[in-house]
């Protein structure tokens, strides 16, 4: 009994430490100077010139990218779930893109596709047709690229929503004489409203948190949003921690509002459930003469979201110097970049560190989540709701904000000298991914009947034995899925890492970031292609094991 209490206590304290201490430090850092409360940091931060533009940019970026993702994602989901459009599996394959192409690679690929100088699409498609170039290094470009990266997430959310909708609700509208268009606008969409609002909020929060797109496309043009502003403030010399903290606080407030609002909506959404209990067979609506346009739309989306970025990355990886594809460049291909990347010390560090951190974080997160969610779901320990809420808290903290917070802590705390080691990145990852781990484990935990545990206890097993012999083995499928998912997302992580790494402690995403900043494009792309291949294998294994990872990302 006391062993159990000890573990409950330890887990609570540890999760509280992970979730609360960074936030506390951030507050303290921002609102005090020399031990006295002050608003000086806020004042400095918000009197900088260009701040109004920065805020406007952030909102335009968030609103625009959300709109792009929600419109495309919802449209595709409706086509796939409710109509007889062909090539449906292709859409589900495309929905894995955010998992297998890290955000920074995706953004760089789009830079190669749509920059004014070297953008393939500009040179060969857009300029010949419209006579002007589309400049991806602009707020519009950022909106487009981020929107495309988030579309699959909306797609998966809306697929789930449309699937749970009784098809006869639409059929009765058709029988009432309404054409398909009217049915979609007047029936389907209003019924999907809760899911739609949820998707909008999630995407807005995601965009506000996004660092990759504003950094790659915006920094050189001096287009700033919150995240890139924080990064710039910390990269100035000397770095201004309290001003960065002030920006981080603002961002944190925005994302927290979004996440809390979303949680409220998903609770209310229940009242809207229309399923009557009778099982129904999905009956796709025949598109008739719209089938061809829809098919073209789907194929075009697949090309744009999957083939084009991968193709341009691969092409770039075969060039000595990056130049847009032409007869000349296509006849002078090289594999040399792969070798060069392999021998680059940056990549070697990155590979080693990413492996250590990915495996380490995934294992630690899943173990911690297993114990924590077992306490939450299965025991009657007083205060277990506290663990639940604490473990959920990091979901509201953008990666970059967490980076700022952790940085300030371990720069100040002399008795835990982990600054400049992998441990500091490990702590950031652990904090960021605890909520995901909890979700994977608690979903499968709910599926385990309480009787199983109780019968084991009746046969005289202690609680630890019950956990190890009964609970853990039954959790394995959810556990493995969650583990792989966390490996995948750790390897791509950039927002916290970019503030916490130090020479020799780079991870793979940092290696790509550094190469980008140094202009080593072909080598970067070679590394990127290898990384994508590795992630494809990982995600493939997860799917073979029957784990639907990706859907949970939301």
């Amino acid at each position: 009994m006391s062993g159990r209490n000890l573990i409950v206590g330890l887990v609570t304290v540890f999760i509280a430490y992970l979730a609360l201490v960074p936030l506390g430090f951030l507050l303290w850092q921002t609102f005090t100077r020399g031990g006295h409360p002050t608003l000086a940091a806020i004042r400095t931060a918000y009197s900088q010139s260009g701040l109004g533009t920065m805020t406007l940019n952030s909102f335009a970026f968030a609103g625009g990218a959300t709109a792009v993702a929600v419109v495309i994602g919802t449209g595709l989901a409706h086509l796939v779930v409710r109509t007889d459009v062909p090539f449906k599996p292709l859409m589900f394959a495309a929905s894995l893109v955010p998992l297998i192409i890290p955000g920074i690679l995706h953004t760089i690929a789009w830079f190669f596709l749509l920059s004014t100088q070297i953008g393939v699409l500009n040179i060969h498609v857009i300029h010949p047709i419209f006579g002007v170039n589309f400049n991806v290094a602009s707020v519009h470009g950022m909106i487009l690229v981020e929107g495309l990266h988030l579309t699959p997430l909306v797609f998966l959310l809306m697929v789930a929503s449309f699937r749970s909708m009784d098809p006869s609700l639409e059929e009765s509208a058709i029988m009432s004489g309404a054409p398909l268009r009217t049915v979609f606008w007047r029936i389907t969409l209003p019924l999907a409203r809760p899911a739609l609002y949820a998707a909008i909020l999630i995407m807005a929060v995601r965009t506000l948190e996004s660092f990759e797109v504003p950094a790659v496309l915006g920094l050189n043009q001096h287009i700033f949003v919150f995240t890139s502003q924080i990064w710039t403030t910390l990269n100035a010399s000397p770095p201004d921690y309290s001003t960065a903290g002030a920006y981080a606080m603002a961002l944190l407030v925005l994302t927290t509002i979004g996440v809390l609002w979303h949680n409220r909506i998903s609770k209310h959404g229940r009242a809207y459930q229309t399923v009557t209990g009778k099982g129904f067979r999905p009956r796709p609506i025949p598109l008739g003469r719209w089938r061809w346009p829809a098919t073209i739309l789907i194929l075009a989306y697949f090309c744009i979201s999957v083939l084009l970025p991968l193709a341009i990355l691969f092409y770039a990886s075969t060039q000595n110097f990056y130049a847009p594809p032409s007869h000349y460049t296509l006849r002078h291909l090289t594999w040399g970049n792969y070798g060069a990347a392999w021998h680059d010390p940056l990549v070697q560090h990155g590979l080693k560190n990413s492996l250590i951190l990915g495996l380490g974080t995934a294992t630690a997160v899943m173990l911690l989540a297993a114990v924590a969610s077992w306490i939450v779901v299965r025991t009657k320990v007083r205060g277990r709701w506290l663990i639940d809420n604490l473990a959920f808290l990091p979901l509201t903290i953008p990666g970059l904000v967490l980076g700022v917070a952790i940085l300030t802590i371990y720069l100040r705390v002399p008795w835990l000298p982990i600054y400049g080691t992998l441990w500091i990145i490990f702590i950031a990852y652990l904090t960021r991914y605890i909520p995901y781990g909890m979700r994977y484990v608690s979903t499968s935990m709910f599926q385990i009947g309480r009787e199983l545990e109780e019968s084991a206890q009746m046969s005289g097993a202690g609680w630890f034995q019950v956990f190890r012999r009964i609970v853990l083995p039954l959790l394995v499928p959810g556990f493995v899925a969650g583990w792989i998912y966390i490996v995948v997302v750790s390897v791509r992580e950039l927002g916290s890492s970019v503030l916490l790494y130090s020479p020799g402690r780079e991870v793979l995403s940092i290696a790509i970031w550094e190469m980008w900043r140094n202009g080593q494009f072909p080598e970067l792309c070679a590394l990127g292609i290898v990384m994508v291949a590795g992630l494809v294998v990982l995600v493939g294994v997860a799917y073979k094991l029957g784990a639907k990872i990706g859907v949970r990302e939301a």
Partner: protein
């Protein structure tokens, strides 16, 4: 009014059963006349819903022709395929399919609001029509209520009102009562029938519940494995089943195998292993032909006085009885077989008692062998 000719529909094989397509509807033809309630009755999975959905246009048949009042809605041969929203049929779904984001009034108004621009009624006329149909189904006092706040029976009537508001020539109903509890179902049965008769609606009704079908319909088509087994008035389908399947599916029957011994003036003398039966029938069977005698238990009488046996009067022993409230069911052993007899509640004979089993002639129908 409604004419169905050689309708066929198959579904692609699912991954589980890789080979062969499922023939959900297999070459069926029937007519529905004006003002009648025509019922498709059959066990679950026999293709009733598929037939209905083909008529609605929600499912594309492989073969056949569907026409209403001479207007061809679908013809595989001539390539006519009217989309469902242009067929102007009313339909009530099993799940009611009430739109939860609209109130009662808006649910009913929707079909009027989506009419083509020229035919769309003005605001005033629209609410008048909605209110009229709501009062027909007695929901006028709930017009402002959110649709999800209605009880099951009210949702059912709302679905009906919505299907009726355009005054469709044909109303399609797919097991509309199956989601109601037993008491309400009985009430709604009469309500539906009253509405259908009073408004002169032509209806095509789908159910697997034989009591419902017999109580409500003008005519019944009994379906089995995508085919129609028998079409007729409820009474004739019940009293003169043409196959063992129909006799079994509608009501209860005792099945006794026998051989035709001779036929005197439309009365067949059938030799069975329990004794001789004299059965009037207007069907034609050869002497010596194997047949099945279907005997309704409610026309089998039991008596404890044991005098006189002969044709249609057998001797047996009560094996079990079950008190069912209005009636008492007895299981009687006659030779090697068991006969079920349904007696009124005054007759209740304990097992084991020797009894006389008297078959009344109305108990019988003669059907061919095979199932």
């Amino acid at each position: 009014m409604l004419t169905i000719r050689n309708l066929a529909k198959s579904y692609g094989a699912t991954r589980a059963e890789k080979r062969g397509r499922v023939l959900a509807v297999d070459d069926i033809s029937f007519d529905v006349t004006d003002g009648e309630l025509f019922t498709l009755l059959g066990p679950s999975g026999c293709g009733k819903t598929t037939t209905l959905r083909c008529i609605a246009g929600l499912e594309m048949p492989d073969e056949g022709e569907i026409a209403i009042d001479g207007r061809v809605l679908f013809s595989a041969e001539r390539g006519v395929r009217t989309p469902p929203n242009e067929r102007r049929l009313g339909m009530v779904f099993q799940s009611y399919a009430i739109w939860p984001h609209m109130n009662v009034f808006e649910n009913v108004a929707f079909p009027l609001r989506v009419l083509p621009r020229g035919q769309r009624p003005r605001k005033h006329a629209l609410s008048e029509r909605v209110e009229r149909v709501l009062s027909v189904v007695r929901l006028d006092h709930l017009a402002g209520r959110q649709a999800t706040d209605l009880s099951g029976g009210q949702q059912q009537r709302l679905a009906l009102a919505r299907a009726l508001v355009l005054e469709p020539p044909l109303l399609l109903l797919d097991e509309p009562l199956s989601n109601l509890d037993a008491k309400l179902r009985e009430e709604m049965r009469f309500e539906l029938k009253r509405l259908q008769r009073e408004l002169g609606i032509t209806g095509l009704y789908v159910t697997h519940d034989q009591v419902e079908a017999l109580a409500m319909s003008n005519r019944v088509a009994v379906m089995r494995d995508g085919k129609i087994e028998q079409i007729g008035h409820p009474r004739s389908v019940y009293e003169q089943p043409e196959s063992r399947f129909v006799a079994d599916f509608i009501g209860t029957s005792n099945f006794i195998d026998g051989t035709v011994e001779r036929c005197d003036d439309g009365v067949y003398v059938v030799q069975t292993d329990g004794g001789v039966l004299r059965i009037p029938s207007d069907k034609h069977y050869e002497v010596g032909q194997a047949v099945i005698v279907a005997a309704r238990p409610e026309h089998i009488e039991l008596a404890t006085n044991l005098n006189g046996i002969g044709p249609n009067v057998w001797r047996g022993r009560v094996e079990a009885r079950a008190f069912l409230g209005e009636v008492v069911d007895h299981v009687v052993a006659v030779g090697p077989r068991e006969i079920r007899a349904r007696c009124n509640s005054k007759v209740s004979i304990p097992a084991p008692t020797e009894v006389t089993v008297r078959f009344h002639e109305e108990a019988f129908s003669l059907v061919p062998t095979g199932d």
